[in-house]
């Protein structure tokens, strides 16, 4: 599993290095470069930040300073299912923090973290702009409005059932193959 992740990261770096050559070597391209990396790979891994620093001939700390300043950039790989809990004003007034707490408790991780199996991750966002549906949670690009603590459990349970089902089907297929 670890080798698998390492191989994937190496492939990511090759991809990033290739794409960075498409940018002009100008300071104004720093943020667009970081955005490109995050868009393609969902997070900024440390070696990628080094690549950007090299490409623009900037100090690593300078690039890191810019990247950490903005909310958009993530430094941890998100999980397979990414939960964005909205904590905008309207969601706060209607109990968004209770929802966030429920996710954290259920998954055993804090916001900004990913479960060890990289299945789930939680992020708190400032406002997703559908305040009339507050409190809102965005799970894998689908917005869920009027979320209640019991709905949180339902969401996570749904994913777990789905996963078990897939595992069962995989086993069943494997057995079939072995049998024939």
């Amino acid at each position: 599993m670890d080798d698998d992740i390492r191989a994937r990261e190496a492939a990511m770096l090759v991809d990033i290095e290739g794409r960075l050559q498409g940018f002009e070597k100008e300071r104004k391209n720093l943020i667009p470069m970081l955005q490109m990396i995050q868009e393609r790979h969902a997070y900024l891994l440390p070696d990628a930040i080094q690549l950007v620093a090299d490409a623009l001939e900037l100090a690593l700390c300078e690039v890191y300073g810019v990247a950490t300043f903005y909310n958009q950039f993530r430094f941890h790989p998100p999980g397979k299912h990414h939960m964005k809990v909205c904590l905008g004003t309207a969601c706060h007034v209607r109990g968004g923090d209770i929802i966030l707490e429920n996710f954290e408790r259920k998954l055993g991780i804090g916001h900004g973290e990913t479960t060890p199996d990289r299945e789930f991750s939680i992020e708190r966002v400032a406002c997703v702009g559908c305040c009339a549906l507050a409190p809102v949670v965005i799970v894998d690009e689908t917005a869920h409005g009027h979320v209640a603590p019991s709905k949180v459990e339902g969401l996570i349970l749904g994913f777990q059932i789905e996963k078990e089902k897939q595992a069962r089907e995989k086993r069943a297929r494997g057995n079939q193959k072995n049998g024939s």
Binding site: K28, N71, T89, I98, A126, G129, A132, L133
Partner: protein, 645 residues
């Protein structure tokens, strides 16, 4: 396109307009029905994509023809997904909350059999003698749409749609007159920047034009500020998603007036749909010949680019925005020099908000005099608010300046739901203030709101009912500004942190005598010691709530009690054993932490050590029992022993 100075912009534009009008006419004359679906972010979040798929599927099943027209947002978020159906033989009808199931019903009953399903419709869009009109509802007729007039009517992905509704005519008009006349017109109209501070736009442009004229050979830039970071406000996003061409038109008129050749739209990357719509709109404008060299044969040459901001609240401040475009941390710099003199890359730059640019075309089309008819003497025009929170008809509202808060909250937006009482309204986001019911008669304009202690801000408005704790709201906003402070000025960086610490302590029931005085003096110090708008306004939520809701702060500190029962450390839930029904298990299953147990006489009790105070049991308890009670301070809750296993 070769420069052709002889060509008249009007003549060059006529074929474009005629083509668009002809296209619209053929579509309107088609005998098949048209289904308009609102497909902005809020619509999609409420399930507009599923609704659209359901319409397509149901139509295909029946082999029926209908044109599905994706439009932007009409601003009625509470009613999303909104669908307008034009069925020949009927007036255009607006349906609200159209789920996939309703969509299938509508195709079956309305499009096939001609029954408009009265139980699902909200009203008709035009006058008729069959169905009541939506314009009779206060939420519709009390608005004055100047900027958002075409939002929800035009397809944001089709430039021809915008042109056929009269779009780009203001640009053509502007190109025929000299820059000086345009600036005079904007000045005469008294347009003030809609970004929050309310600086007169005409003055800014006049200054820019004079600086730009002297700056021969320098790159002059117009920047459209769409870095909307205010939690709970989404006007800029909706405008860009629903009608990007109107913003582009405004930018073009500005570029012509001040003499710039280069424009940049700075949009948050968190608004992927807005980025997509603007990029597409720029591409279409270029293809049509409305952007590029010698636009419509006039001397104006303009290139517009999109820059994606990475999400930092402070980047709404113009100098910080420029820093971030130069690839640095978004930290504000000292003014003067103002960006007009020394902006992006040290070159002269004009920065205006999305809403300012979006107002310009309608201002030019109406003329200064008729523009002044709307709004007040000192703040002409309209204001757009995103009204959210505990209010019935939440969404985007565009009203003339000068309307009072009471009208906006109670008449236009339908008031407070669930029979709760109004407590306060928070205007202007993290920089604004909370106004209590005494201020409901304050007219909404730049100056009156500042006088009351709040500010116009970008236009976020949160309505709060009696169950909202003002201390907690102040804490929430401080939590936000403290995180978003860029760290340049010590008072803002450390001061907001301390304010937050004190507020957190108060909401936890650990407030001390003298805390309120520290909050006040510290707030004043932060205001005085900060460079940019963020620090200067960050203490506003604290100061206004302290001024108008001091008794709530005192209850937290002295009695360790939260009057609104919202601060979780100061409240407790218990089950009234007289009301609780024997044998009912409704609350047990819903509790996420299994804090509810069964007592010896088969009623329920709450284990206070486990309870996380989420309030789920209140919702779960059947209304005929209504046995769950919330109290503050927590020691008021009677102790119920958990029976031994």
């Amino acid at each position: 396109m070769a420069p052709n100075n002889k060509a008249n912009p009007e003549e060059a534009f006529t074929p474009i307009r005629e083509k668009a009008l002809a296209k619209r006419k053929t579509l309107e004359n088609a005998s098949s029905p048209v289904i308009h679906i609102g497909m902005a972010t809020c619509g999609i979040a409420s399930g507009a994509l599923e609704t659209k798929a359901a319409f397509e599927e149901a139509l295909a099943e029946r082999n029926m023809e209908a044109r599905i027209h994706s439009v932007g947002c009409i601003g009625h978020c509470y009613a999303e997904p909104v669908v307008i159906i034009e069925n020949p033989g009927f007036p255009a009808i607006l349906y609200h909350q159209v789920t996939p199931g309703k969509a299938r019903m509508l195709v079956k009953s309305f499009l096939e059999k001609g029954d408009p399903l009265f139980e699902y419709l909200m009203g008709a869009m035009v006058e008729n003698d069959m169905i009541p009109q939506v314009w009779d509802f206060p939420r519709f007729n009390m608005e004055k749409r100047l900027v958002m007039e075409k939002c929800g009517q035009v397809d944001p992905e089709e430039i021809e749609d915008y042109v056929s509704f009269g779009g780009y005519s203001a640009l053509v008009k502007a190109l025929q007159s000299s820059p000086e006349i345009i600036i005079e017109e904007v000045k005469a109209a008294g347009l003030r920047g809609r970004g929050g501070a309310g600086f007169p736009t005409g003055l800014k442009w006049a200054l820019a034009a004079s600086v730009f004229k002297r700056a021969e050979g320098k790159e002059k830039t117009v920047i459209c500020n769409a870095d909307e970071g205010d939690p709970g406000a989404y006007m800029d996003r909706t405008i860009l998603e629903s009608n990007p061409h109107q913003v582009l038109e405004g930018i073009m008129i500005c570029a012509h007036a001040v003499g710039a050749q280069h424009a940049i739209v700075y949009v948050r990357a968190e608004y992927p749909l807005a980025v997509k719509m603007v990029t597409r709109a720029i591409f279409q404008a270029e293809e049509t010949g409305l952007l590029g060299n010698h636009i419509l044969g006039s001397p104006l040459s303009l290139k517009i680019e999109v820059f994606q901001g990475s999400g930092a609240f402070v980047c709404g401040e113009e100098t910080a925005l420029i820093q971030s475009m130069e690839g640095r941390r978004g930290m504000p710099t000292y003014r003067p020099p103002f960006p007009v003199q020394k902006g992006l890359w040290g070159q002269p730059t004009v920065i205006n908000n999305v809403k300012t640019f979006a107002t310009v075309p309608s201002l030019m089309a109406r003329g200064a005099e008729r523009f002044r008819e709307i709004g007040t003497e000192k703040s002409p025009g309209t204001a757009i608010f995103s009204v959210v929170g505990n209010v019935r008809h939440a969404g985007l509202v565009e009203i003339p300046m000068g309307v009072d808060l009471r009208t906006l909250v109670f008449d236009t937006c339908g008031g407070i739901p669930n029979k709760k009482a109004f407590k306060a309204v928070q205007i202007g986001g993290p920089s604004g203030g909370c106004l209590p019911s005494d201020f409901l008669d304050t007219p909404i304009d730049f100056d009156s709101l500042i006088e009351a202690g709040a500010m116009m801000g970008s236009g976020g408005m949160v309505v709060m009912d009696e169950d909202t704790c003002m201390v907690d709201v102040a804490r929430y906003f401080l939590d936000f500004t403290q995180k978003e402070s860029c760290g340049k000025c010590t008072f803002c960086r450390i001061g907001t942190h301390h304010l937050l610490e004190i507020l957190v302590r108060i909401t936890k029931g650990e407030g001390r005598e003298g805390d309120l005085e520290i909050l006040e003096t510290l707030s004043e110090d932060i205001k005085a010691g900060s460079l940019c708008g963020l620090g200067k306004t960050a203490p506003n939520p604290v100061l206004t709530s302290l001024k108008y809701f001091r008794d709530e702060y005192e209850a937290h500190i002295k009695e360790k009690r939260c009057p609104a029962c919202m601060c979780r450390d100061l409240t407790a839930f218990y089950i009234d054993l007289d009301k609780c029904a024997r044998g009912c298990d409704a609350c047990v299953g819903c509790c996420p932490v299994e804090a509810i147990f069964t007592t010896r006489n088969r009623k329920k009790g709450v284990d206070q050590t486990l309870c996380v105070k989420c309030g789920e049991c209140v919702t779960a308890c059947p209304p005929e029992y209504d046995a769950v009670v919330k109290v503050s301070p927590p020691n008021l809750a009677p102790v119920v022993e958990r029976p031994a296993e």
